[in-house]
């Protein structure tokens, strides 16, 4: 584990952030917009950013014998670590809903989004939006959090709303595949979500490094 990630996990992070990974269990809720679980996981990361700001964390990091780029890298690594822990838990629970719990009446009569690979892909899109809008936006000033989080929240709920609505449109029913139906399409959509996550994270990381290098602490 890199020193900066270790520093993020042991000094900058709140216990709450780790506990909020548990919102991945919302994947099991029937009749609920389960993508909100991804949003709540990022809400936990936001809390750590807020607490780290009050602890003068960014200046402390910048004084360590590391390049300024490494300060940005540490924050991105921490966000990605929490997101991927949440994603892994969501993936296990989704696999459960798609297989052994597939015949459960509460899931059969579910009117909202089913837990399937498309759902997982959309969770990754939401994590990518968090990294691009909130984490990336934070490094424009290294202290402003609120505006970036509001912008991310708006984007995340538009994505959640769109994901919930799309399968109601003619021809898009396969997005809400149940169990192992339309598996090829579903895996493709998951990979698409992963590609969007990677692109949003990498592009915003590079921009955040440039922005952070320009600002005065």
């Amino acid at each position: 584990m890199g020193s900066m990630l270790k520093k993020e996990m042991r000094l900058s992070a709140l216990l709450l952030t780790y506990l909020f990974i548990g919102f991945a269990f919302m994947t099991l809720l029937p009749g609920y917009p389960i993508l909100c679980g991804a949003f709540f996981i990022t809400l936990g990361i936001f809390q750590s950013f807020q607490s780290a700001r009050e602890a003068n964390d960014v200046t402390f990091s910048a004084l360590l014998p590391v390049a300024k780029r490494d300060v940005v890298k540490g924050k991105y690594q921490f966000a990605a670590f929490i997101e991927l822990c949440g994603f892994a838990l969501m993936a296990v629970l989704t696999a459960l809903r798609m297989t052994s719990l597939a015949d459960s009446p509460v899931y059969r009569s579910n009117t909202l989004m089913n837990a399937n690979p498309f759902f997982l892909g959309m969770a990754l899109v939401i994590f990518g939006l968090f990294n691009a809008i909130f984490v990336g936006g934070f490094f424009r000033t290294a202290y402003k959090l609120g505006g970036n989080f509001i912008a991310y929240t708006v984007a995340a709920f538009i994505a959640i709303g769109a994901a919930e609505a799309m399968h109601h449109f003619p021809g898009l029913g396969a997005l809400n595949a149940f169990g192992l139906d339309h598996l090829g399409l579903q895996i493709g959509l998951l990979l698409g979500g992963a590609a969007i996550y990677a692109a949003l994270t990498i592009l915003s990381y590079n921009k955040a490094c440039r922005d952070f290098d320009r600002i005065d602490l």
């Binding site: 020193s3 270790k6 520093k7 042991r10 000094l11 009050e54 602890a55 003068n56 964390d57 200046t59 402390f60 910048a62 004084l63 360590l64 014998p65 590391v66 390049a67 300024k68 320009r214 005065d216 602490l217």
Partner: protein, 237 residues
């Protein structure tokens, strides 16, 4: 030998500018960086740590420019401020255990020695420390990785007279071991106690950078103390 050099460093803010700041620090000497509040001491120190971007000028340590060698240079320097509290709700033990992993020259013996000297308790959190103990904790971080250059921003602020005395004695001991120290202050008696050299800044400009004796000779009047001299210079400025 000059171990730190600033050459024509400029930085402009809407309401304040550092103008062609130039001075150097000699190896094994204590330099007092003096100026009234808002004169540019902290801005200069932040430039020396690459926390702010200078508009122009050059800063070098150990003959290496800061730009491009920041990581290596930060391994060999220590910084402490009397006013900032890092991670107020983490224990000293937690903060140290993470911080030391960044320094290849971390000296566990020195760390233990300073913990004892400063009477710090590893189980305490910065929020539980008095202002003076916070200063000591920040100093502990700077001193435990065998820094060759110590940059200390108002390290004596908030300290009681006994702690200040201990600290100034410590500076002299560190100087005896070859450390180079720059400390900013507006407490002139600190300078009289231990500074070899004085860098005097006023309205963002360096007015003098020389030995303490030269400073008194150039600007002082007969029987004038450093404090009286400093006050007079500020009133005349």
């Amino acid at each position: 030998m000059n171990i730190v050099e600033l050459k024509d460093v400029c930085k402009s803010y809407p309401a304040f500018s550092l103008k062609n700041v130039s001075f150097s620090l000699e190896s094994g000497r204590i330099t007092g960086f003096i100026g009234r509040n808002g004169a540019g001491k902290t801005t200069t120190i932040k430039s020396m740590l690459n926390l702010i971007h200078t508009d122009s000028g050059e800063i070098s340590y150990f003959g290496m420019p800061l730009a491009g060698n920041e990581t290596e240079i930060k391994q060999r320097i220590g910084y402490s401020t009397g006013t900032v509290s890092w991670y107020p709700r983490k224990t000293i033990r937690e903060i140290i255990s993470v911080t030391k992993s960044f320094y290849r020259s971390w000296d566990e013996d020195a760390y233990r020695r300073y913990m004892e000297l400063f009477a710090l308790d590893e189980g305490k959190k910065p929020i539980e420390l008095s202002e003076g103990m916070k200063v000591k904790f920040n100093l502990l971080l700077a001193l435990s990785h065998r820094a060759e250059v110590l940059i200390l921003d108002e390290p004596t602020s908030g300290l009681d007279p006994f702690s200040r005395d201990e600290l100034l004695e410590l500076f002299k001991t560190l100087r005896g071991h070859g450390a180079t120290i720059l400390f900013s202050t507006h407490i002139t008696s600190d300078l009289e106690r231990c500074a070899d050299d004085i860098v005097y800044i006023s309205s963002g400009q360096i007015r003098a950078a020389c030995s303490r004796e030269d400073f008194m000779r150039r600007f002082g009047r007969p029987d004038e103390t450093l404090e009286e001299l400093f006050l007079r210079l500020e009133r005349e400025a």
